[in-house]
């Protein structure tokens, strides 16, 4: 039914102005001149154009601002996640590792110092013996 209606409506394309009217109307229209725009109209057009541009620029700025705000917020959220329990446990682990390292260092250095002290003591005894021989 819709197709039939569509076909019937297309018949209306047969409606056309007469050639005589077409030429007469054209002649009458083109003997007149287009109206000049008043200063107010020109200003209005200019303002509208500029306003459109400013509005587009403003919207773009707002969009950029929102996007940057979103990124910033994302970063802050990430930072806040790090600053929580994760960060504390990380710090504790670091401390623990440092303490272990220190203990290991102290253990190694103590042995070395003991060996050195032993050597020094031996050397000291030898010097004492040599001195005793010289003096006595």
């Amino acid at each position: 039914m819709e197709e039939k209606i569509s076909k019937l409506l297309k018949i209306c394309r047969g409606i056309e102005p007469s050639g005589e009217f077409k030429e007469r109307s054209r002649r009458l229209i083109l003997t007149t001149r287009p109206r000049r725009l008043t200063v107010l109209e020109i200003i209005k057009q200019e303002v509208l154009e500029n306003l459109k541009f400013s509005l587009a620029l403003g919207l773009a700025s707002v969009l950029v601002f929102i996007m940057l705000g979103g990124i910033n917020r994302g970063n802050r959220e990430q930072a806040s996640n790090i600053g929580g329990a994760e960060l504390l446990s990380e710090i504790r682990n670091v401390d623990f590792q440092i303490q272990l390292g220190e203990a290991e260092y102290f253990a190694e250095s103590a042995e070395e110092i003991a060996a050195l002290l032993g050597e020094i003591k031996e050397t000291d005894d030898q010097i004492n013996t040599v001195l005793d021989q010289i003096i006595f």
Binding site: L9, K10, S25
Partner: protein
């Protein structure tokens, strides 16, 4: 849309009559049909069509290119002019007074008779529809305008235009069934 339309409009805005003349040649028939299907006296149709193009020419400098065909602006002028016409002239002419001379038929006599008969039925049915329904049907099915352009002319959304079209077709179906 007419080829090189933007250029023609720019030239017409500078007062070049040949350019406006080309726009006139291209859009005269659709605007004339649009007015004819709403106002059924030939003299009135001619007067209103003339006024539409005179108005367009005289105000061409205030026309702003917005990416839509020039016809959108012409249809808007025509719609306003028809509204003014009916506002000032309350007594509508009978729907039966359709001027048969207005229909040009290039085919055989049979086709001409058939078309004339159908045209009477169609125009009578169309005039029984609401203003928006008439506008949508004429622009969509007679002039093949896209929904987007019709929406722009009628200052409605595309969805609203589709809805009006659907209702108008249903209304026409009923009217044709009643006549049959």
């Amino acid at each position: 849309m007419l080829e090189g339309e933007e250029k023609l409009i720019r030239e017409a805005k500078q007062g070049k009559t040949e350019s406006f003349s080309k726009l006139y040649d291209h859009y005269l028939a659709p605007i004339y049909r649009f007015i004819y299907l709403k106002v059924n006296q030939r003299e009135t149709v001619e007067d209103l069509t003339h006024e539409v193009f005179l108005n367009a020419w005289q105000n061409i400098r205030s026309y702003r290119l917005q990416g839509f065909p020039f016809s959108s602006w012409l249809y808007q002028i025509a719609r306003n002019r028809i509204i003014d016409y009916y506002r000032t002239r309350k007594n509508h002419v009978s729907l039966e007074n359709i001027d048969p001379d207005i229909v040009k038929t290039a085919g055989s006599v049979e086709l001409a008779l058939d078309q004339e008969f159908s045209l009477e039925k169609i125009t009578a049915a169309i005039r029984n529809l609401g203003d928006d329904q008439q506008d949508v049907l004429l622009m969509r099915f007679i002039e093949d305008l896209p929904h987007q352009e019709i929406a722009q002319i009628l200052e409605k959304s595309e969805g609203a235009v589709r809805l009006i079209q659907h209702r108008a077709l249903n209304e026409l179906k009923k009217l044709f069934k009643d006549q049959a």
